[in-house]
Symmetry: C2
Subunit: 264 residues, 2 copies
């Protein structure tokens, strides 16, 4: 912490995306998937709010050879999101601990720029972080999103499905009956409105979700499955359910995967 | 065209995002908003399908000083999307001219990598292009999306609204009565499900849409307006409708703008 901690001007909250190869063996050179502008800003930040301190340190270790960090890693102030937010998400005020949120934003009030990041991809999209962004606005702290990889949109573009009306739903319920009911509801919505539906799953359940889609969706629905986005093994398979059913049985990837479906 | 035009291996269809400063005076250095990996791949492509040939040439002129183009600009094969697709979008098969689409993908069948791009941002998201992606899948052409700026997601992350359940709706109807009805329908959906609603507008109507939201949405709805994303003048204002109503009357930006709203 420097001696100008309390300035009359507030700092910014930067939303810093991180590569999508978190937890993968196949690491992409960071400058291939992140713009220099984003790496440059990240390298200058001394205050961080993050889903996971270890993954943020690993990220900054990859930034350093491209854009040298302003302060050594061990001197950075890296604060972890409160556990409740981390586990349940923070998109409803009921789940937000306002006091803990305010505490983490104090450096911004004192004039420091603060970085918000998650383990992979864009913070606050399919990831926690939104309560910090809301509170930053309420405190008059400027919020600046930086460019980086966003798996949901890479998958949507690669699907060939409607990108002019789409919804991200998150996870489907795990119990089979609840899952089927939700799947049918989303299929009806997609057929009535043309809206592409985007869902994700924890990797070890990808196979079960893929089989449920192939078995239960209507033959004229297009299902697109994108795995390993931005990795060298990146693959999108997009075809009608009737075609999925004719194929020799594919096995779903155990890499992070995005599922999109809608009228074919 | 080189002498190996007909190879036994098909080319890839690369989805190439472009900077968001299309038509703006304030051009961002391209390497600040696009990863080198995306620029490198774009620089090697000799076949392009695009919304607008002039803007694609301008894009490639900005790529060249960072990653030299494989072939001179005037030697590139740049094909423009059929006018019907351009005007109406191509996310329903009724609107797609299959023959014209197939013609533009022939270089990929002949073994060349082909780039698909729009005027700004990610092709096939809030932009035409999806019919080419669908047909590429049907022809067994591999589809690879590249990382770049996507205004909808920058705006969503910066809004502080729910990023774990959201929908992009496109444009609201222009006639006041139809617009109000649609707005109220989306507001009900947002309140019932927590789903953030994302809409866009043609810049000269930003002011009218902003005033309609402030006047007609419920006081406890959060409205976030992001303009000039990735530009130096980038600005996100996110607050409850009750707060928007108390403010001295703001004027909407005439830059490209994304509107997000949902439970506050």
């Amino acid at each position: 912490m420097n001696n100008q901690s309390f300035s009359s001007t507030k700092g910014c909250l930067y939303l810093v995306p991180t590569p999508l190869d978190f937890g993968c063996e196949d690491l992409t050179p960071i400058q291939e998937v992140m713009p220099l502008g984003s790496l440059q800003i990240a390298s200058q930040l001394e205050y961080w709010i993050t889903e996971n301190a270890k993954s943020t340190r690993a990220f900054l270790n990859r930034v350093h050879p491209i854009c040298p960090l302003k302060s050594a890693l061990q001197e950075l102030n890296i604060q972890v999101l409160p556990r409740a937010v981390h586990k349940q998400g923070d998109h409803t005020s009921a789940k937000t601990d306002q006091k803990a949120t305010l505490e983490l934003l104090k450096p911004a009030l004192a004039g420091h720029n603060v970085g918000l990041c998650s383990e992979a991809g864009m913070p606050a999209i399919a990831d926690p972080g939104s309560s910090f962004v809301r509170l930053a606005h309420d405190l008059g702290i400027e919020v600046k999103p930086l460019v980086g990889p966003i798996s949901l949109m890479l998958a949507l573009a690669a699907s060939g499905l409607n990108g002019q009306n789409f919804a991200f739903i998150g996870y489907l319920p795990v119990p089979a009956a609840d899952r089927l009911k939700r799947m049918e509801g989303l299929q009806n919505l997609a057929l009535q409105t043309g809206q592409t539906q985007i869902v994700i799953e924890t990797p070890y359940r990808n196979e079960a979700l893929m089989q449920a889609f192939i078995e239960k969706l209507k033959p004229n629905i297009r299902l697109s499955i994108s795995s390993g986005l931005t990795l060298s093994s990146m693959k999108t398979t997009s075809q009608l359910i009737s075609q999925w059913r004719q194929l020799p049985k594919l096995k779903a990837s155990e890499l992070p995967t995005v599922f999109c479906f809608g009228p074919g």
